[in-house]
């Protein structure tokens, strides 16, 4: 039996014109849980995030973020979540600190440098010398860290991550995984949309396979030893046959 879900999606359907993208999606993520949503291109991952962010009004079904419907109360729902987009877009003319401070100001969140911003930048491993550098010269990985620092600094109950490890090198990916585990341990519900099977296996509590607009299969991490059968997952994900 699942605890109260911070993210609760039921029988969600949505179409773009004639093309139905979500066909009865059911998805629940509890507080203190990392859910990795895997799926091929066009499976409906981004549409799911858009529905949670209140950017689209679903055709039918229900979406709740901490008990709030993003379609009818998008600002209230967004106040409960932080979002890290796949392609991290920041303001190139601002420094890392200024970017985080600006977005926190818009979110009406606490933004004290000493107690909020700097600890968040430090936590994501952004070198100190980069904090006051304009992000126009940052690599994709560094931008990703700034966006994650922003998400962590929001101190919200729900974290939506869109391909968070895309563009990160292996060690940065490991650092990132430890970060979101920390967030989970603080009770944050994390939905991670990803193609990165290794990362999903490393941190996820549950993995859902999204196909043709619904969860086709859902796996729960084992309590001990290997959390997931990586070979089986890989075969499941790529459609290859598993030997033995």
């Amino acid at each position: 039996m699942m605890r109260d879900a911070a993210i609760d999606v039921r029988a969600l359907r949505h179409s773009y014109g004639q093309r139905e993208v979500l066909r009865g999606l059911d998805l629940r993520v509890a507080a203190g849980e990392i859910y990795a949503l895997l799926g091929g291109n066009g499976a409906g991952k981004s549409t799911t995030l858009s529905a949670l962010l209140g950017f689209i009004r679903p055709g039918s079904g229900s979406v709740q973020v901490c008990g709030i419907d993003p379609a009818t109360a998008p600002q209230d729902a967004r106040a409960q979540l932080a979002y890290v987009p796949e392609s991290v877009a920041l303001y190139d003319h601002l420094t890392a600190r200024e970017n985080v401070e600006y977005f926190l100001a818009l979110a009406r969140a606490a933004r004290d440098r000493g107690t909020v911003i700097d600890p968040a930048l430090d936590a994501v491993g952004l070198p100190g010398h980069a904090w006051d550098a304009r992000v126009g010269g940052f690599s994709k990985g560094m931008r990703q860290k700034v966006a994650i620092a922003l998400a962590l600094a929001r101190h919200v109950p729900v974290l939506l991550l869109d391909e968070p490890t895309s563009g990160l090198d292996p060690s940065a990916t490991l650092e990132f995984n430890r970060l979101i585990e920390t967030a989970r341990d603080r009770g944050v519900a994390i939905l991670m949309v990803t193609h990165d099977l290794l990362s999903a296996v490393d941190v996820a509590d549950r993995i859902g396979f999204l196909s043709e607009g619904r969860i086709e299969e859902e796996l729960v991490a084992g309590a001990a030893g290997a959390r997931f059968d990586l070979n089986a997952l890989h075969a499941r994900y790529t459609g290859a046959k598993v030997s033995g």
Binding site: F55, Y83, L106
Partner: protein, 475 residues
């Protein structure tokens, strides 16, 4: 106003401050406005003192004429120069095209001469460097370049999605952008506004006109800032926003204001100077010919004059009859000229009305008329000067005719009758006071402010659906 709105607006200013090209362009335009204002003030003062000097010079020359027949002095005439209004530095309006000097003489109305556009290089015809020229033509272009990507770039970069995910709704986002660019627009106009306030504070111009000018130009600049932001929020790509906005600028600021007067001239044709002269000559002949001994009108005039003085023959009149005929002829021709001028003014008003009816389409027409009217350099101000000059011309000519009537003997005047040179000093002198600038309720002010206000209101109303779409456009 919410904290998010002011924060977004402040962020636009910070982005401009850190964007060297945008900052330099804005500072250059603000400097250009300031330079144009200072140069125009200097130019206005120079023109004004030059006109005063010329007026004194021609008055002196008139006074120094030797003893002559008064009718020769009627044709010696007087030059009168149009003084500039205190705010003409802001917008020289039609002054460069209508001329500022009139030669006044008997029997005819001369048009104003020595328009600077006719004397100067061709370049002058494309607009003098005044604050009005910079604010009307160049400032909108700069505002377009600063704001065309204000929202569309957020969409293109992906920051729009991140902004909205922080809980900022489309309305606050758009309002922040609008306020940010409105602030930039007002900062661009600030040098001119400060100068206007300074001149009003120093007593150099009326407060009302200065404040109405500031109000009108503030509305004009805000209109472009708002338009640019809204177009940017309505299209997917910044490139599309730029194309649309430059197109609007070209049509509204360049094409329509220049094409419409041409269309108006074709729709309502003004008679040429020669046609007017021929028609007046014909009308004068129809009324009467003083040189024709059988002319019924002047025969009647003679009969009335003889009866008035109680004599039977012209030779018995105590005054010079030719002078009386001259005065009557002047009265008749002046009346005909006045009617012809009124007809022409009516046609010009019709042309202006046609052009002005498009101000809802091209608000430049509204700000242009408002600016010229408040600066005292519009056709209305020019017409006021022409009327005053014509009234003076009649008084001046009739004063000389009266001297002929009173001082030249009616009979046996000799071959070259003259009167003393001292008489010229008693002839009236042209004294013209620039009319006070129009007030808020003037038909050249209120309707144009209403057009600008209407545009701003329409843009505010348009912002509502654009903001709603923006809030959901980040999928």
């Amino acid at each position: 106003m919410s904290a998010a709105v002011t924060r977004i607006a402040r962020e636009e200013w910070r982005a401009l401050a850190r964007n060297r090209a945008g900052l330099i362009a804005s500072m250059l335009l603000a400097l250009l406005v300031l330079a144009a204002a200072l140069v125009s003030v200097e130019r206005r003062n120079a023109i004004e003192s030059e006109r005063a000097r010329y007026q004194a010079s021609v008055d002196h020359q008139f006074d120094e004429q030797p003893a002559r027949h008064p009718h020769r002095m009627v044709h010696y005439g007087q030059f009168v120069f149009r003084p500039l209004s205190p705010l003409a530095f802001f917008d020289f309006g039609v002054d460069g095209f209508t001329g500022n000097t009139i030669f006044l003489e008997g029997h005819r109305q001369n048009s104003a001469n020595f328009a600077e556009a006719r004397q100067s290089s061709l370049l002058l015809r494309f607009g003098q460097l005044t604050p009005a020229f910079v604010l009307q033509n160049l400032a909108p272009l700069l505002l377009i370049f600063l704001a065309f990507a204000s929202v569309s770039r957020e969409r293109e970069r992906g920051t729009l999605r991140l902004l909205l995910s922080q809980g900022v709704d489309g309305q606050r986002l758009l309002m922040g952008k609008l306020i940010g660019h409105a602030g930039i627009a007002l900062a661009i106009g600030a040098p001119a506004f400060i100068l206007l306030l300074g001149i009003a504070a120093s007593g150099g111009a009326e407060w009302g006109a200065g404040l109405l000018l500031i109000l009108g130009y503030a509305g004009w600049l805000l209109l472009w800032a708002m338009l640019a932001v809204l177009v940017s929020a309505s299209v997917r790509r910044s490139r599309d926003a730029l194309i649309v906005l430059v197109g609007v600028w070209m049509v509204g600021v360049v094409l329509l204001p220049r094409a419409l007067p041409e269309v108006a001239a074709v729709r309502t044709t003004l008679p040429t100077r020669i046609e007017t002269e021929v028609a007046l000559h014909r009308d004068l002949k129809e009324i009467g010919d003083s040189h024709d001994p059988d002319d019924p009108y002047f025969n009647d005039f003679k009969a009335r004059t003889l009866a008035h003085y109680g004599v039977a023959r012209v030779e018995d009149l105590p005054v010079q009859y030719a002078g009386l005929v001259g005065m009557e002829g002047e009265r008749i021709s002046t009346d005909l000229y006045a009617r012809a001028a009124a007809r022409t003014a009516g046609l010009e008003a019709k042309q202006a009305g046609f052009v002005q009816s498009f101000s809802a389409l091209s608000p430049l027409l509204a700000i242009r008329q408002l600016s010229m009217a408040l600066s005292g350099s519009d056709m209305g101000a020019h017409g006021h000067f022409l009327d005053a000059a014509e009234r003076f011309r009649y008084r001046f000519v009739q004063a000389l005719n009266q001297m002929q009537v009173d001082q030249i003997p009616n009979t046996n005047a000799g071959e070259d009758p003259r009167i003393a040179a001292e008489n010229w000093k008693t002839v009236p002198r042209f004294s013209y006071t620039v009319p006070p600038p129009p007030g808020l309720s003037d038909p050249r002010v209120l309707p144009n402010l209403a057009v600008l206000g209407g545009w701003l209101l329409a843009l505010v109303l348009l912002a509502l659906p654009v903001a709603r779409r923006l809030g959901r456009a980040a999928r």
